[in-house]
Amino acid sequence: MSDAAAHAMHPPTSTGLDNRKVAIWAFIGSECLFFASLISTYLVYKGKSLVGPLPHEASQCMLHGQMQRCEGVFEVPLVTAGTAVLLFSSFFVVLALYGAQKGNRKMLLGWLSATVACGLFFVGMQVYEFTHFYHKGMGYGTNLFSSTFFTLTGFHGSHVTLGVIWLSTILFLAARGKLPPEKALNLELAALYWHFVDVVWIVIFPVVYLMR
């Protein structure tokens, strides 16, 4: 049974909006509170760490058992690059969706691959960053900064990872010709989620990396 036939057999929804789209929006609303709680905790505990390492340079901090000058752990240029890539991916997924809706297979596959690649780059950047911090002696429970940082960015990263898996699944289907224009909504739902994950990062990036 084709989707078009299914639509023909059912009354339109009460609002005219697609059911799954409303569901994604409701879920995103819920997720806003999830990240708001994580970000608030990060801010509440900002500057309250008893020992280093610290996010930004500090003249006095307790590190390796003695008070000393501490360097900040953040590598802002690298994360800025990751941020830019993630932002571009939001643009790419819009182009992919446009391709899907117009039945332009080349556009769809090309831009969707680019989106997935951007997502992978971002996740890779985070994996590198986390490993790097770990080698600098910043474990998950080292101090309040490390705990709140890893929890917040870790949950964001796992959302990006889920998005990559979701988009890759659609890419796989699309490559096998299973994403005709009337099913473009399947991509639109994933794209909505993807945009949300990006928007959350736009909040996290300045709050965590730029604010001193």
């Binding site: 049974m1 989707d3 569901a23 409701a26 819920s30 509170l33 474990g139």
Partner: protein, 611 residues
């Protein structure tokens, strides 16, 4: 992952389905509603038994019926069970069964997601209680205050069962909330504008929004706590710079909206019962809607009234005191509208009406003591005393449970096709009302006299004996009242069907179809022109003809599926694995297995043949 009823089978479901497998794979909102109801009622009885053992322990001074340790487990599990496994899923039973019927839909919008929610809820409830068999029933209070819950002060698995169990339950709640939110927005029958929805649907709608916005916050708090206990963080541990008060903020930002999650469905049920048994439309429909919205909105700005004793300073105290008092205004609007509804009505004193009226009276008492708590100086006197216990039992038992019981008498004939005995129903009501007041009214006095809550006994000679003895007698009467209900229910279920489609002269769509409804609910999608469609029809036709059962040939229903259960097991194993998080133990193998099962379930679910 989410698939709508748009993608369903073209198979006709003419034959009746029964047997265990049909229940495991069901995606029918009515069957899922019954599953919710049956499971929640059993949990409710368990929570009741816990409460009764508490009352037996407190019946006399210096009693030694239970140990202090077991007493901690009893009051923790009583609170946790009644809130998360009793009242919430009993409301979910009515959401499931009656939201689609009241809005004229054939099912919820995502039937398989609905089954998933139920299975996750059931597994979560079993998980929390499983601690009992390892002598590790949760024991740190239903509010789980830090840093009592830290690994240092709560070694053992008790708190782990609680933390992980609540996370599992949270997933069920959010999945269900998304489902009902979209169902109400998008599945209404033609003509049913938002301001023509039955009040139960309205209050349920607001409840779903509260669930969506409140549960993520406790999820985060529980994640922090889990990390503190197992992975070396110090979110709530002062030794590492953490602040135990942060737990209280996160918990009550969830916890106060949770109060409305427990009571708004009750408001909705009572707003259905009163008009029907007064033979008058609901008074002030629009005011009812907007007062509900206003209550929910304010509900997110009052959480710290649970924290006056932490010393937040005059500004915060004043803010949260005023915002709390403000909530009394929309709540008062509701109470006056209920009174306006019965005013001058042609009152039909049937059992549901008894419970609805009992609800109003008891809820007013609980509401008034709630306003007393909103004043910080008064609250400081009452904090951690039985006065608070009295207050929230008047709103949750006198409020929610009375309304839910009224809802059961009102709607069970529709669900089972069998009427409940009226005399037994009224005996149930009077026993419950008397038992309830004997149990909880004296707690006001005991609390003001300084009897602390959560303490397993009290010494003789403080003047606590008489009231405590009386309370235990009251609790015994409540137990008897529940037995009357259970007998009534069993006797009615063993009789042949005798319920007409519309036993109460109802005003809403669920009464336009046979009791119990056929699998497809409505042979034809109804059209609605007001908030009281059946009364319109009755006026037009003089009387309503009894609807006949029809063949469902040609009506498409979603396929049964067991992937929701597979996915739910995945969630259960993923989070359950963390219970084993010890150094040098490969607990992550369990968790990763769970993730794999979850992905398998979700992918098979997403790619299940559409028909």
């Amino acid at each position: 992952m989410a698939t709508s009823v748009l993608e369903h089978s073209a198979v006709h479901h003419a034959e009746a389905k029964s047997g265990l497998w049909s229940w495991i794979t069901t995606v029918d909102h009515k069957r899922i509603g019954i599953l919710y109801g049956a499971s929640a009622f059993l949990f409710f009885l368990l929570g009741g038994i816990e409460a009764f053992v508490i009352r037996l322990q407190l019946m006399t001074a210096d009693n030694t019926l239970v140990s202090p340790e077991f007493y901690n487990q009893l009051f923790t599990m009583h609170g946790t069970t009644m809130i998360f496994l009793g009242v919430m899923p009993l409301s979910a039973m009515f959401f499931n069964y009656f939201i689609p019927l009241q809005i004229g839909a054939r099912d919820v919008v995502f039937p398989r997601l609905n089954a998933f929610s139920y299975w996750v809820f059931l597994l979560g409830g079993l998980f929390i209680n499983a601690g009992f068999f390892f002598n590790a029933w949760p024991n740190a209070g239903w509010f789980g205050y830090a840093n009592l819950t830290s690994a240092q002060y709560s070694p053992g698995l008790n708190t782990d069962f609680w933390v992980i169990g609540l996370q599992i339950l949270g997933i069920a709640s959010i999945a269900a909330a998304v489902n009902f939110f979209v169902t109400i927005i998008n599945m209404r029958a033609p003509g049913m504008t938002l301001l023509r929805m039955p009040m139960f649907v309205w209050m349920s709608f607001i409840t779903q929004i509260l669930l969506l916005l409140a549960f993520p916050v406790i999820t985060v708090a529980l994640v922090f706590l889990m990390m503190d206990r197992h992975f070396g963080t110090h979110f709530f541990i002062p030794a590492g710079g953490g602040d135990p008060i942060l737990w209280q903020h996160l918990f009550w930002i969830f916890g106060h909206p949770e109060v409305y999650i427990l009571i708004l469905p009750a408001f909705g049920i009572v707003s259905e019962i009163l008009p029907v048994f007064s033979r008058k439309p609901l008074f002030g429909y629009t005011a009812m809607v907007f007062s509900g919205v206003f209550i929910a909105f304010l509900g997110f700005g009052v959480w710290s009234h649970h924290m006056f004793a932490t010393g937040m300073g005059p500004f915060a105290d004043a803010f949260f005191s005023l915002s709390t008092m403000l909530i009394a205004v929309p709540t008062g609007v509701k109470i006056f509208n209920w009174i306006g509804t019965i005013w001058g009505g042609s009152l039909q004193f049937k059992t549901p009406m008894y419970f609805a009226l009992g609800f109003i009276a008891m809820f007013i008492i609980g509401g008034l003591s709630g306003v007393m708590h909103s004043s910080p100086p008064a609250d400081l006197q009452q904090t951690d005393t039985y006065f608070v216990v009295a207050h929230f039992h008047y709103v949750l038992f006198g409020g929610s449970i009375f309304a839910l019981t009224g809802g059961a008498y009102y709607w069970l004939p529709k669900m089972t096709g069998r009427m409940l005995n009226e005399t037994a129903g009224k005996i149930h009501f009077w026993l419950m009302l008397i038992g309830f007041n004997l149990t909880f009214a004296p707690m006001h006095i005991l609390g003001l006299n300084g009897m602390p809550r959560r303490v397993y006994t009290y010494p003789a000679g403080l003047g606590f004996e008489f009231w405590n003895g009386l309370e235990t007698v009251g609790a015994a009467i409540i137990v008897v009242s529940q037995l009357v209900f259970i007998v009534n229910l069993i006797v009615s279920l063993r009789r042949p069907r005798n319920a007409p489609a519309d036993p109460w002269h109802g005003a809403t769509l669920e009464w336009s179809i046979p009791s119990p409804p056929q699998e497809f609910n409505f042979p034809e999608v109804p059209e609605v022109k007001s908030s009281i469609p059946l009364w319109d029809l009755r006026r037009e036709l003089g009387s309503l003809p009894e609807p006949q059962r029809v063949s469902g040939a040609g009506i498409h229903l979603p396929n049964p599926s067991y992937y929701p259960l597979v996915a739910a097991i995945g969630v259960f194993v993923t989070l359950g694995g963390i219970l084993f998080a010890q150094p040098h133990f490969p607990w992550y193998v369990i968790t990763l297995t769970g993730v794999a099962v979850l992905f398998y379930g979700v992918y098979r679910w997403a790619f299940e043949p559409a028909g």
